[in-house]
């Protein structure tokens, strides 16, 4: 459990309370990383762990992570969802070694202690001993030796877990604009098309910043400009929760929206006037009738849900060390996709992931930062683009959402002066 007011030595030198200055030490210090595991990932937050579509049947399971803690997400015989730490209650060995599968019992190979789909201990070899030797005492109760359980909640098939008993209900934690963003993408049953992984030599929060940062989009990612993929009447809007932990934003209003109004949507493309030698890359049908071509939703601490044209994915940020995280993409479509639509999603997968034409730059930018901040932990980054008074619900071009992330983060981590809270800027 979280120890309140646990000491950080030396304390984080936040130069301002508004999130506009971030000391580089938060990206490099191992003590900060350890503290995050307790105060953030095992704190009062909901961590994304999997999609229900990855474990549709009773006894299906998938291994995942909460922070750097390995867990098993599983579906019991009655369809209920469960999550527990993937570490044997006997001697601490990894219990489930497969990435996913279907099993009635998760059996540790070391001494064959077995657990059911709820993480309860159901099998202990030689529990009563053999010929009077070995075994456990008469008062040994398997109920005291289950796997460490997390609370689980699912919204529209997106599964979250928390270590804490006092974490607010999931719907309250996510709040209205985020629920709407999830509802939109998960309005129909989804099917998982596969996974993509990349291992980044950088701090996980650099990626959290990146997905709340509209400033970099057209500057770092050159694909659209190079191939003339500009739309004339494109707009952005977005929203945030009351606590300002999360962010969701969309880009909408473009040429095919106009085409839709002319009743010509089926034949239309997302874009026109581009210079691809093979335009089939961008041939698709809009999944929604709202004109939104890009939707990026960042849910504190470790989830990004994206729609970019016909690409749909969750991105799970899995921290490994202060300077190391895995980015785990679950790429999906809808169960009612026809063959043509699936083919289109597979081709548009070129846009995203570790080899993505519009995404490969992000991890490189993160590694460039991590490499340069090795020594000057008390120096800081500068986050004032768009001004300090920006309205988070209206201004979707500046760095306001990144500052909000840092205020929420530092509130959970505890301030050097011992106060907690999320700062003054609304």
């Amino acid at each position: 459990m979280l120890r309140e007011n646990a000491e950080i030595s030396p304390p984080l030198p936040w130069p301002t309370q508004d999130g506009s200055r971030v000391p580089f030490g938060v990206f490099t210090r191992h003590d900060v990383f350890d503290r995050e595991q307790e105060a953030i990932f095992r704190g009062p937050v909901w961590n994304y762990v999997a999609l229900e579509a990855e474990l549709p049947q009773p006894h299906d399971f998938k291994t995942s992570f909460v922070g750097d803690t390995p867990i098993i997400v599983s579906r019991a015989e009655d369809g209920s969802l469960h999550a527990f730490v993937n570490r044997c209650a006997h001697r601490g060995a990894t219990v489930q070694r497969q990435a996913c599968g279907n099993t009635r019992q998760h059996r540790c190979v070391y001494h064959q202690w077995s657990y059911n789909a709820r993480g309860d201990l159901v099998g202990v070899p030689y529990r009563r001993g053999v010929a009077g030797m070995g075994g456990y005492a008469a008062d040994f109760d398997p109920r005291d030796h289950g796997l460490t359980k997390l609370r689980v909640a699912s919204h529209k098939g997106v599964i979250f877990a928390t270590f804490r008993s006092d974490t607010a209900p999931l719907e309250d934690y996510l709040d209205e604009p985020l629920l709407a963003a999830i509802d939109r993408l998960f309005s129909r049953p989804v099917k998982v098309l596969g996974h993509m992984r990349q291992r980044v030599r950088g701090n996980w929060k650099l990626y959290a910043e990146n997905t709340r940062d509209p400033y970099h989009a057209a500057l770092l990612h050159g694909f659209h400009a190079t191939f003339g993929l500009y739309r004339t009447n494109q707009k952005r809007k977005g929203g945030s929760d009351r606590a300002r932990a999360h962010s969701t934003g969309v880009t909408y209003g473009d040429d095919w929206r106009q085409a839709e109004q002319s009743g010509n949507i089926e034949q239309d493309k997302f874009v026109a006037n581009y210079s691809l030698a093979d335009p089939s890359l961008l041939e698709g049908r809009p999944d929604f009738n709202d004109g939104v071509t890009v939707s990026i939703t960042s849910i504190f601490p470790c989830l990004v849900i994206q729609q970019i044209m016909n690409t749909l994915a969750t991105r799970h940020i899995r921290p490994k060390a202060a300077d190391d995280f895995e980015l785990y993409w679950t790429y999906f479509g809808y169960q009612d996709d026809d063959e043509q639509m699936t083919a289109c999603r597979l081709k548009q997968a070129n846009l995203v992931g570790p080899a993505g034409l519009i995404s490969m730059e992000d991890s490189e930018a993160i590694e460039l930062i991590q490499r340069a901040i090795v020594r000057d932990g008390r120096e800081d980054s500068f986050l004032e683009f768009g001004g300090l008074q920006a309205d988070l619900d209206k201004d979707r071009t500046g760095e306001a959402t990144i500052r909000a992330f840092w205020r929420y983060y530092s509130g959970l981590m505890g301030r050097p002066d011992g106060t907690r809270g999320n700062g003054a800027e609304a």
Partner: protein, 159 residues
């Protein structure tokens, strides 16, 4: 081994080596020319192989699409500065009918950064369909199945 299969093997090996050398010499613009016009190139994470169809992380199904990818790498994308080294081995002809060969090979790709430090970037298997296109062998399909499906940083240069 008789003369004819040995000749075919030599020609296939030469194509595989040439593929590796063009990429390692940064002759990306020539990379699509090793494929037939409607050639397919895919990079598939090994963990996706048990799905039908398996999700690729890099996918071209025409030479034009490969040219777009190369143009994007040259003009648009930002990626880690490095030298690549493709090592191709264990080349095996799995089947041969008329002028179409199914070929399996192992690949290893090292990356060396601008300070001369080398790391193993990716290891895996090529699953190729090679055909006689206009008097020389070309790839009708080249699938790189990555054992290293947790991609270090990013994948820019084709495997």
């Amino acid at each position: 081994m008789t003369g004819a299969p040995s000749q075919a093997y030599d020609a296939i090996r030469a194509l595989e080596y040439r593929y590796a050398r063009l990429l390692d010499d940064d002759r990306l613009e020539e990379w699509p020319s090793l494929f037939v016009e409607r050639g397919v190139y895919k990079v598939i994470p090994r963990e996706n192989l048990d799905r039908q169809p398996p999700l690729p992380i890099f996918f071209c199904d025409s030479r034009a699409m490969m040219q777009d990818r190369v143009r994007s790498l040259r003009e648009a994308n930002v990626y880690n500065l490095h030298y690549a080294r493709h090592v191709v081995s264990n080349i095996e002809i799995l089947s041969a009918r008329e002028d179409i060969f199914e070929v399996a090979a192992c690949y290893t790709v090292y990356q060396t950064d601008l300070e001369g430090q080398t790391r193993l970037f990716s290891v895996g298997q090529y699953r190729d369909v090679i055909t006689n296109g206009g008097g020389e062998l070309k790839f009708q399909e080249k699938v790189a199945v990555c054992d290293t499906f947790n991609i270090p940083n990013l994948l820019a240069i084709p495997l």
